[in-house]
Symmetry: C2
Subunit: 254 residues, 2 copies
């Protein structure tokens, strides 16, 4: 009897952003593992075990889920957003590579979800309409000077930049350092979007500029999109502004 | 009477990847506009008008949909993947900025979807598990030398790279040029994934290396993920390999 592990993306929060594939994978699981705040979004089902854990325990959570699946169970691990973007899918792969041979025989399915940068972008227009990158600002798993090199390279090359994990209680100052660095590469008027808890009751969206971005609070539930030099804001009388990055850049043929 | 325009992401193809929000937005539309191949994925509904057009006509399609919405209709524009990633949301914003004042008064809603890089990544593991970027290889709207600069900057800075629009009938050779450039920055053994028509009946997935990538065909339905130096492949006896990029890089504290 061989087990099965599904790593499921829950999207930004509201159940409207779940795909049918995610709904079906959740419904068929014998057990669900996840960070407790994500597990709380999943309706409980009779006979389905639930294993919540702390945010910082990804490797242990992945290993527990794999052990359970290797016993023959149909196990789900839930992730906010998309499980492949700074989330549980890589943690599961790390454990499979390091773990017992039996874990390699498991049927592993990654169920994609709407990651935070897509949800925030959709709320304000199309800021990711041109080339873009995604960088986690957390230096728990990489050195800070590498983060700085990537920010500088991305800004200089004209990428729009989505910043994941911009700040936490243990790292309150890194977003400030990142903004200071970005100001050396981008104009003060560059558009920046702060999206917090998008699609949830406490959603907060702020459209500002690189110059003023230091005044906007950020935490682990915040996703920040830093525009490129080409990103534009359309102000509207009775509707919220639209922020977008044009598909074309100067010098193109069309 | 003020109109409404929803720009809806259909995901990679199969209806299982639609969100409920996208399903609801499609169901409530008076008219649906889109590239004919995407429109074909949407079930027709009694009383709902359908306006298919060619792939290259984004600005005209966006303008037609906005004109229709400005007449008071509830109009949907459909996009493959996510509408904000190299797709219709930016084209709609461009038309709103350039168009008549009435278009700024419209209720515009962007409905996010599973973009191709998330769908391809999920099929093979977690190649986007660390910092990554998305680059369109089409030089219809930007100069080729800018694309080359971005590829070089991204590879040198250690980003995993998702390549959209790698080739078309009019641009068959650009993926080859891009791979040649990437070989100057990355080891020959770097993992590369070619994902074509993911979730559709003609889905093709190829896991290869930078050295051998030139042998794999690519077209407009193909999304390519170029790993970083850290991207790993887990070979498995009875299951497909897993490709992932570890969350941690050398030099990190944890």
């Amino acid at each position: 009897m061989s087990g099965r592990l599904a790593v499921i993306g829950l999207g930004p929060g509201d159940a409207r952003y779940l795909t049918r594939e995610a709904e079906d994978a959740l419904a068929s699981a014998d057990a669900v593992y996840g960070y407790s705040a994500y597990l709380d979004r999943v309706p409980s089902r009779p006979g389905q075990a639930r294993h919540g854990s702390d945010n910082r325990e990804e490797p242990a959570r992945a290993a527990a889920a794999l052990r359970h699946a290797a016993e023959g169970a149909n196990v789900a691990v839930v992730s906010g957003g998309d499980p492949g973007v700074f989330a549980m899918a890589a943690a599961v792969c790390e454990q499979i590579e390091a773990g017992p041979p039996g874990w390699r025989a498991l049927d592993v399915q990654i169920v994609p979800g709407i990651t935070a940068m897509l949800a925030v972008a959709a709320r304000v227009g199309a800021p990711l309409g041109h080339d873009f990158c995604a960088i986690s600002l957390s230096d728990n798993l990489k050195p800070w000077d590498l983060i700085e090199r990537r920010l500088a390279a991305a800004a200089a090359a004209g990428f729009v930049i989505a910043l994941y994990n911009p700040a936490s209680r243990a790292r309150p100052g890194q977003i400030g350092k990142a903004l200071t660095l970005l100001r050396r590469h981008l104009p003060a008027a560059t558009a920046i979007i702060f999206g917090r808890a998008v699609s949830r009751p406490d959603e907060q969206l702020t459209i500002t500029t690189l110059e003023d971005a230091g005044r906007v609070p950020a935490d682990m539930a915040t996703l920040i999109i830093v525009g490129s030099r080409d990103t534009r804001v359309i102000y509207r009388e009775d509707e919220a502004p639209l922020v977008y990055t044009p598909r074309a850049v100067a010098g193109a043929m069309a």
